[in-house]
Amino acid sequence: MGRSTLHVLKGISFDVQQGEMVAIMGSSGSGKSTLLNILGMLDVADSGSYTLDKEPIKNLDETKAAIYRNKFLGFVFQSFNLISYKTALENVMLPLYYQKIGRKDRQERAQKFLEKVGLGPWATHHPNELSGGQKQRVAIARALVSEPKVLLADEPTGALDSKTSYELMDVLQTINDTGITLLIVTHEKDIANMCKRIVHLRDGVIVEDKKIKQVRANSYVK
């Protein structure tokens, strides 16, 4: 949280089409998380423009950013970031609460998304009663429940073993199949290979941007 300025990103320009599944790779300090945070409107770029769904994102104050995040974006974090005193279902309901959606409606929709990630029976469990993979799937359900255009995942498999990681990637691929755009920050090659495009960052610039042939995660999941 230091006040000293550090230019992490030094000129990045790229477009992502709807329905893409992009892996952002790079070693630590390459600026991949910063890029994701700017895309997620959690952070602001010093200069440059950002257009989301034909809408220029600029002059963001906190309130506006919050509304955009709520409407357009879903977040998945490495450390899950579930609220510990809420059940899985309540965690998933939370974004809808900030959309001022009625309680019953919220509950139904949250339940539906929990079932989508295969956690229907776990709805009333608290995060500390869930495994890492289950927690991350709750987080995914939470990110999806507001039906965002883009899902941003910062090292979603960083805290999971490889088997669970693949299971999770399977879930993410299924989501991508429904047309939701995914951006995944990762430094694991096998995870990146499960996306459709890999963007390599080094020292704040894009060094490589290529489309790849997606490896389906379910081929690993037995």
């Binding site: 906190e62 309130t63 995040r69 970031n81 309540e90 939370l94 959309q99």
Partner: protein, 422 residues
């Protein structure tokens, strides 16, 4: 804003975060609860004291005063110094005329009160020495006499006919009569003269030197029995409610000095006791107590509310990450601020209401414990409802103000920084 307050979900969020840390909530609540509890008990107690004083004085006219004769200290009009003064019966009318603020003037005469022997009173084989007062019926206007059922005080006919009737005290009754006997209508022998008992008076504390064994007889009877002529020992007087008792006292003495030919500057010729002034002083004391209780109460409430602010500030720090998550999920700064604020006000209010209930409970216990102790100046400790509402309002106001600090703090951290914190 009102929509937020009446939204069930808002409360669900708030209850969720309150329940998350029960200890924190409890400690917070106790802080304010203690403040309002102190305030309620203190101001209730001071009101009880106030009521108690009022009760002690209720037997006596609040602005009553007493004047008696002493000795002169300045030679005047041909009289030497040290002349013994003597009040006379005609001073009564004279004073009523000269001091229009006086409502009642009752001449009194007594034996066995200021030194000297009382009268020896006998009945059957029993006897005792008691203070005897010669009184007019008007006395009850100044110092009410509680007469037990079936009896009465001296009336005008008793005065006119110099009747040999008496009102005896509770203790006199116990000492001269059997428990089963009704003294009313019976006779007692006072200095070899038979007196018919017409009433038994209940002892009241406020009168000063009087006791539960005093015997009251008609002034005129006293005068004939003890051959005291028109002498008066002292005047018991009451001024009108709106009169300034200190000024009235001055006027009375000035008038008496003229009539009895005493030097105007002679302060010793007449003595006086101004109950009204004493009463005012007591009143001043209890209103001072009231102010004190309000000040202390507000200060403790303030301390409690600051405690709430403090603990919420810590809790906001603890919840930095949670608040960051909420904001990443779309909570606007206003919503986060509002949540913290409502939490603050809600906690304050709950604590306040609990404190009021606890305070009322303690006051009720004190009331039960002191209710049979009539000599303690403490009656019916209450706190006016508007004071309670005022205190609650103050707490909500302060809770809001103090809640603004952690609320602002909660949104001053950028969500990204909040999320980074591990």
């Amino acid at each position: 804003m009102f929509k937020i307050l009446f939204d069930r979900d808002t409360w669900q969020e708030i209850f969720g975060s309150i329940q998350k840390n029960k200890l924190r909530t409890a400690v917070t609540v106790i802080g304010v609860l203690w403040g309002i509890f102190i305030y309620i008990t203190l101001s209730g107690a001071s009101k009880g004291l106030d009521n108690g004083f009022e009760r002690q004085f209720e037997e006596v006219a609040i602005n009553s005063l007493f004047v008696w004769a002493q000795r002169t200290s300045i030679p005047y009009d041909g009289f030497r110094t040290g002349r013994n003064m003597q009040l006379k019966l005609d001073d009564q009318n004279y004073l009523m005329q000269r001091v229009p603020q006086l409502q009642y003037v009752a001449p009194r005469i007594a034996r066995g009160v200021f030194g000297g022997n009382g009268s020896s009173v006998k009945r059957g084989g029993k006897s005792g020495d008691y203070a005897v007062y010669g009184d007019f019926p008007i006395l009850v206007k100044i110092a009410a006499k509680d007469i037990f059922d079936g009896g009465r005080f001296i009336n005008q006919a008793d005065i006119d006919n110099q009747r040999k009737v008496c009102v005896i005290g509770e203790r006199t009754q116990m000492e001269l009569f059997e428990k089963s006997e009704d003294p009313i209508g019976n006779y007692v022998q006072m200095d070899d003269m038979f007196f018919q008992v017409i009433g038994v008076h209940k002892f009241s504390g406020g009168g000063g030197f009087e006791s539960d064994s005093d015997i009251f007889i008609p002034f005129t009877t006293f005068k004939k029995l003890y051959n005291t002529g028109d002498n008066v020992d002292w005047f018991a007087m009451a001024a009108y409610d709106d009169a300034d008792v200190v000024a009235v006292e001055k006027d009375i003495k000035a008038a008496l000095k003229v009539k009895h030919r005493v030097h105007p500057d002679d302060e010793r010729a007449f003595g006086s006791f101004n109950l009204g002034e004493v009463f005012n002083r007591v009143k001043g004391f209890s209103s001072g107590m009231n102010i004190l209780s309000v000040v202390v109460g507000i200060a403790t409430i303030l301390a409690g509310v600051i405690g709430i602010g403090n603990i919420l500030l810590i809790s906001v720090r603890e919840r930095t990450k949670e608040l960051g998550i909420r904001r990443a999920l779309g909570a606007t700064p206003k919503e986060v601020r509002m949540q913290i604020l409502i939490e603050s006000v809600f906690l304050t209010l709950i604590a306040g209401i609990l404190g009021i209930i606890l305070g009322a409970f303690v006051l009720a216990i004190i009331n039960i414990m002191t209710s049979d102790n009539s000599s303690l100046p403490y009656t019916n400790p209450t706190v006016p409802i508007k004071f309670i509402l005022g205190a609650l309002g103050l707490m909500v106001g302060l809770g809001t103000l103090i809640g603004l600090i952690p609320a602002q703090r909660a949104v001053s951290i950028k969500p990204i920084d909040a999320l980074k914190e591990e």
